[in-house]
């Protein structure tokens, strides 16, 4: 398992200074590290409930080998910021769009990931599919995502079907003092 530091977008200050994050959960991370699929699967398993629905995966019902294989098949990039996991999968039909996932309500690591994808990988459109009621929805809202739909009965958990909320954001809505300056598309 391999972890590499995402040096292009490293948090050096744990104090949130921008207005957009004033009401957000205080960030506890100091850097973001890229995980290979095997390490990502292990961290997803450790995340337990928070990892359920991450990029459409479920570490409770899927074993590590399957999680790693699915992440590789999707060409997912997974990052760890403290206890938080962040993920990105390219849209194969629209190279400027990525599907995003997170495991906690902390917006600052998410904002850094979005800035990294914008400035380094030329993504300018972001989609998140979040289980209804998941804590990470607050992070997406803080980063400028808006709801664009509801997928009915998309998940099955705890004996019942659950909806999944679809969010979307465009580049330029998530910049903060701590993240890289988004480039114009």
């Amino acid at each position: 398992m391999v972890e590499t530091t995402l040096t292009d977008a490293t948090l050096t200050d744990t104090t949130l200074t921008n207005a957009a994050s004033a009401s957000a959960v205080e960030s506890t991370c100091t850097d973001i590290r890229r995980l290979d699929p095997a390490a990502a699967a292990a961290h997803l398993r450790a995340a337990a409930e928070a990892g359920r629905g991450f990029l459409g995966l479920d570490p409770v019902t899927q074993n590590d080998a399957l999680l790693a294989a699915e992440l590789a098949r999707m060409q997912a990039q997974v990052f760890r910021a403290g206890d938080m996991l962040l993920g990105s999968v390219p849209n194969p039909d629209q190279p400027r769009q990525a599907f995003i996932a997170a495991t906690s309500a902390d917006p600052e690591p998410l904002r850094i990931l979005l800035g990294f994808l914008d400035t380094r990988q030329r993504c300018n459109s972001f989609v998140a599919m979040v289980p209804d009621g998941a804590a990470c929805a607050a992070a997406f809202a803080s980063c400028g995502f808006r709801q664009v739909g509801v997928l009915r009965d998309h998940r099955y958990q705890s004996g019942a079907y659950q909806d999944v909320i679809v969010y979307h954001a465009e580049s330029g809505f998530f910049a903060s003092a701590d993240s890289e300056v988004p480039c114009s598309a």
């Binding site: 849209n91 039909d93 190279p95 400027r96 739909g149 099955y156 679809v166």
Partner: protein, 153 residues
């Protein structure tokens, strides 16, 4: 109309002049001749259920989740068989719900490609999400929608 499993002799049905990844892949009007045909791969393992309507179309159930009992549905219809689209879609839904015992089917629809939305509604699909810039078509990012059908009863 019946669906059956994919055989190697069905390979010619796996590509055609439609928009890639669509719930209802139909020939696109005004498609430039230089554009490569859309295609799906033959199945390599049990991760995808690839079915064939002989001589008409492929019907692909991918992103299968056997816990949530859901699948993404993709259909590619050959140009000479577009009159069969309504029956084919209903057959695909019935196959997903009653043969594969799935609870939910969903797929991506690009309105700019002018799909027959009424046919989707008649087969039990509803528009569930509209994602800006979800597809690339004719040199621009265009909206893409997610349509879903849920089995009741």
């Amino acid at each position: 109309m019946m669906l059956r499993g994919y055989r190697s002799g069905d390979a010619r049905l796996l590509s055609g002049p439609w928009t890639a990844g669509e719930l209802l892949g139909l020939p696109v009007n005004g498609r430039p001749a230089l554009v490569e045909d859309a295609a799906v791969e033959p199945p390599r393992d049990a991760a995808v259920e690839l079915c064939i309507a002989p001589g008409v179309a492929f019907v692909r159930f991918s992103e299968l989740d056997w816990t949530a009992r859901r699948a993404r549905l993709e259909i590619g219809i050959q140009p000479q068989a577009i009159d069969a689209v309504a029956m084919l879609l209903k057959t695909a839904v019935a196959h997903g719900f009653h043969v594969l015992n799935l609870h939910r089917l969903y797929g991506w629809v690009t309105p700019a490609a002018d799909p027959p939305l009424a046919v989707l509604g008649d087969a039990g699909f509803q528009r569930e999400a509209s994602v800006p810039a979800g597809n690339w078509l004719d040199g621009a990012a265009v909206q893409r929608q997610i349509w879903g059908a849920v089995r009741r009863g």
